[in-house]
Symmetry: C2
Subunit: 113 residues, 2 copies
């Protein structure tokens, strides 16, 4: 039984929060930044990241611009206003997740009934 990945379902939250902080980022930069912040504990795969970014774009949560670096095209993603509102929701959801998991895991921390 391959242990399930607990990070499943968190990718878009992570990406959107990073975009919210950095104003504008490109894919490779996101991958590196996550490794940096989590000290290598979380390594986003490109196969997950790019489809995620494309979905965010399709949903109107990010907008895209291009930059030429030498002869190479770099694709920048930036949160739209709609995307920023969605990010707020995602972060609130994450906070609730953490609170709920705390309640489940540390019964002492359970809120009053």
């Amino acid at each position: 039984m391959k242990t399930t990945n607990i990070y499943t379902g968190s990718l878009s939250t992570i990406v959107m929060k990073l975009l919210n902080e950095h104003d504008s980022m490109y894919g490779y930069q996101i991958v590196k930044r996550v490794i940096e912040i989590t000290h290598g504990e979380l390594q986003i795969t490109e196969g997950a990241l790019y489809p995620c970014l494309h979905k965010l774009e399709a949903a109107g949560f990010v907008e895209v611009s291009y930059a030429m670096i030498g002869r190479r095209t770099r694709k920048y993603y930036k949160l739209t206003e709609k995307g920023t509102r969605e990010t707020v929701k995602k972060l609130a959801e994450l906070e609730r997740y953490i609170q709920n998991m705390r309640a489940l895991i540390h019964p002492k921390f359970r809120q009053a009934e």
Copy 2:
């Protein structure tokens, strides 16, 4: 774009921790207990729970016993020793997840480089 479920990937951790606390539980009880603890915010579906329990059993993490309640059979799950060791790992993984997500979400909380 249907928002992704952040609880994805956490089900077996939740189940194993509850089993660890309660010594022995049956499926329906797990569903109800999670609703109770999270004040209805997390509702485990049976379609997810039962396959999860069966996988835990196949992996040797839980063992099963039956009880007759009236004319109805109730199936109890109990952590094995191996399952308890796995639960410890899962909980450590969850703590790391929360720390990493905190580092990603609240840059102020980031650990020293």
